[in-house]
């Protein structure tokens, strides 16, 4: 048919595994840029269901292989697809970005810490611990407290505990022992930080001479209960050297680990002026949602460009300041749309993003971004608008 456009016309088909809000927010730039996007959602009715061409379990090899057959490149909404499936995809000739050997470091925090040590990237004091005695020794050597993390499966504060006694994670040690694969927990010093930062980096395989990379301005992230609550862009950091160090770390990791797509490096700015890496994510990240309105190229568009190996876009900010505030569900609220009339009327310049998810306590159901000239002013407005959803 005359009007039928298809991948034969040079249109790149991107397949996203995982149907959450990150996949959802990749759809708008795919539409604008004229890429075809498909989503393999875990269940019906997920956040990215509008774009879901398939529903199935990403831990089922045949489900993933069948989905991959319909696209030109596979990428992710989350880091949970098992390595054997990822490696088999590559063996079958499917383009997978980020590649399995890079994604591994976002899947396993102990492997990540080891790789960062090899790269010479500054990190908090850490150790792997296999029992309570080892952990207790670490706690006592590090001021009487420690941050303990499971190597796998944590997100939004899950799999992370701040402890002063080793028996506070006895259940995790018990689970490791029952698992019988000789696993460890990760123990880290409790960093005395003044601010949490996030450096977003995008990297694609191709480029002139070497792989092309772009960084966004470093942002400050404000956590509440282990969950991202607000992001201030750019980070109100006094010392330019801090910003340079964050960008240097971001680039070093992206290059050293061989990331393709967007990498988010969460960092601590310490009271004594150092920058230490806390966590990594190899996908668009909550700390980059401000970029939808706040950057010439959003993290979602850039991720698509990067995994499709298209030249990367300008990461300049569109305004001097952008603030994003998450909308977290609570027990008393209805879904976001029932509040639209009052929020939109009160805040005509706030950009409301709903993930089309039913609220549960603490669940991220949307976010609000305001851009403008003055960070304090736009922060106040973004907070006020988000507050109306609570």
């Amino acid at each position: 048919m005359e009007d039928m456009a298809s991948s034969e016309n040079g249109i790149i088909r991107v397949g996203v595994i995982g149907g959450g809000q990150l996949a959802r927010m990749m759809v708008p730039p795919a539409i604008h840029l004229g890429l075809r996007i498909s989503v393999l959602a875990e269940t019906e009715g997920m956040s990215a269901a509008r774009a879901a061409d398939a529903v199935g379990d990403y831990r089922e090899p045949e489900t993933v292989y069948a989905f991959a057959d319909t696209v030109d490149v596979v990428t992710f909404d989350h880091e949970h697809v098992p390595q054997p499936i990822l490696r088999e995809l590559e063996a079958r000739g499917v383009a997978v970005h980020p590649r399995p050997e890079a994604l591994l470091y976002a899947q396993d925090k102990i492997l990540m810490r080891r790789r960062l040590a090899e790269l010479g990237v500054p990190v908090p004091v850490w150790a792997t611990v296999s029992d309570e005695a080892e952990l207790q020794a670490f706690i006592e050597a590090n001021g009487g407290r420690a941050v303990v993390k499971t190597a796998r499966g944590g997100y939004d504060g899950k799999g992370v505990r701040v402890v002063s006694q080793a028996d506070e994670v006895r259940d995790w040690f018990t689970a490791l022992a029952e698992d019988g694969r000789g696993g460890h927990l990760l123990a880290e010093e409790l960093v005395d930080f003044v601010r949490e930062l996030s450096q977003l980096v995008a990297r694609r395989p191709g480029g002139v001479g070497s792989a092309e990379m772009r960084t966004w301005p470093v942002v400050e992230t404000i956590q509440e209960g282990g969950v991202c609550a607000e992001v201030l862009a750019p980070a109100p950091v006094a010392d330019p050297a801090t910003l340079e160090e964050a960008a240097r770390i971001g680039r070093t990791i992206a290059e050293g680990v061989g990331v393709t797509g967007v990498l988010a490096v969460e960092m601590f700015e310490t009271r004594d002026g150092r920058v230490l890496v806390n966590e990594l994510a190899m996908r668009p990240h909550n700390s980059g949602h401000f970029s939808i309105e706040g950057s010439v190229t959003s993290q979602f568009e850039q991720h698509l460009r990067a995994v499709a190996d298209l030249p990367l876009g300008d990461t300049s900010m569109t305004a001097p300041a952008a603030v994003m505030v998450n909308v977290l569900g609570g027990p008393a609220e209805g879904p976001m749309p029932v509040r639209y009339a009052s929020v939109l009327a009160a805040h005509p310049r706030a950009k409301i993003h709903s993930y089309d998810k039913l609220p549960r306590p603490g669940r991220k159901v949307g976010h609000v971004t305001v851009t403008g000239e003055d960070l304090a002013e736009v922060r106040a407005e973004a907070r006020a608008a988000a507050e109306m959803f609570r």
Copy 2:
């Protein structure tokens, strides 16, 4: 199912009749704002096919009624849905925006001219003409030339001819005679203009006291061969009175005709300093594509808000200047994506919009927008990027 969100959760379902690029570009803001959007596309493979939940003929009453049953409000990608179908939808209790009695003026240029005359809006000298003798008399009374338009069905320069002899539209008179319904052509003076302007207005049914309206900054539109080629925002008009007059005209028409949704008023700025209305469109319009990046609230988001009767958003510009350049298909080109690598590499801050349409000579297949500080500079960059697709 726990995660299943549906319209019972307050989510408004917007149905768009027509599957072109305007429907396509309504999808991203619908995703962000958490509205459900469905599209009734004329054929498979159209520009908005990603969101097309139905394919069918908008001139078939039962097709339209079945589609309308699945949504909360019906709106449009084009003005061609027959009035009897629109009125029957309303009779069945379906919310239709813009309403049939408003849309009528975008469907019939003669009715529109009459209504504008009633509203006291300045327009070019015009007359309805039913035969060549009447047209020849009009031509002679207006300096030897006239713009002749068919009352219905014209777009992108189709249905419009500049003539100096009445027999140059003999085919149109013949068609009217064969039609047998006593139709007329519209004859207008050929306006001596310095610039073409477009005023975008959004209006929703509700508001405090009266229907809420918002206007965007007036833009300049540059046509080539009757087709929009470039849009400069804001219009580089020297006299602030011209901008005020354009906004006053836009508001007068939106209110006087009872528009809901986005209204585009195309106007001439005459050499003697007047502003005259040329055409109307009651939907997002090519002259407003700059607003995707250039305005806090794009025309597509605003149209959705307006037809859903949600409070309207801020129409301020996000930068001092925005320029949009259309990408028109030609005989020698492939589809846009085959040029992406070179265009994106050369113009990292250009925002590329592909409509996923196969190129044909003169067909709008996409557009490029650049925003920045200096109009001349962003215009040069937008042109250069668009040129690479030609």
